[in-house]
């Protein structure tokens, strides 16, 4: 069987029979009814859904940070406060050490 010829014939058969453009009765009414049922996007609902979804990860992060703060090896507790104070007062110290 000549397959190339068969292919040509079958494609020609498809071309010779264009599909119908018949639309079912009251199709547009059904579409409009479906559109009326579509949920209307509500900004508040979207925000509240996003915030609710964020709750679990936030709780997990808070727990992990709490555990880390509790179990982390403790250095000198005054380190951070001391560093902070030194940074703030560096200009004053400089002025005291080198009076004009």
């Amino acid at each position: 069987m000549n397959l190339a010829e068969l292919q040509k014939k079958l494609v020609a058969a498809a071309r010779a029979n264009p599909p119908s453009d018949r639309v079912p009765y009251a199709f547009e009414k059904r579409i409009m009814a479906r559109l009326a049922l579509l949920p209307c996007p509500d900004a508040w609902a979207l925000w509240s859904r996003a915030l609710w979804r964020a709750v679990a990860p936030c709780v997990m992060i808070a727990l992990l940070l709490g555990l880390w703060a509790f179990f982390a090896p403790k250095g000198n507790p005054s380190d951070l406060s001391q560093d902070f104070e030194n940074t703030l007062l560096v200009a004053v110290d400089h002025a005291n050490n080198y009076p004009q």
Partner: protein, 191 residues
Amino acid sequence: MEPTEAELIAAVLKGDAASFEPLVQKYSPRIFATVRRHARRESEVEDIAQEIWLKTFQKLGSYRGEAPFEHWLMRLTVHTCYDFLRGHQRNRERAFSELTEPENDWLGHFSTQPESASEHAAAARQLIGRVLEKLSPAARLVITLLEIEERSVKEISQLTGWSVSLVKVRAFRARGEMRKILAKLAKDKYL
């Protein structure tokens, strides 16, 4: 005076959903004809057309008005048909042994007298339907657009969103796939 298409679209975007109905009325015949080309069964046609209109309504905000609305709608139609074909790939493996008597007769007639086998016969139409059903979704889409609807590669690229070179590659593969299916059809019938 009836509102123009652009006015209807603007009204829908402002929240007047009723302005969508004239658009549905105007373009539904075109959509149904296109969907019937791509769908495997008539029972799927209305579902696909309905999905197209719901998507159109939801995505209307992304229509920029640079190209005619009909082009934008046809792109959405082809995309939806392709997604549907990909999502419903069942029955592709069905054997050709289930051919009906007229289909068998047409093939028999073709094998003895290829020139006189009419392409207008209902059996030929059913056979091409069966062959298309066995193609992969991408191959079916390309064969339908390129061979049956005789569209250019550039047009197919615009409709599908594929690059021109991808359309060419898929067309090459689709023709190969179709040849294999036809070879299997001939083998099932005559061996």
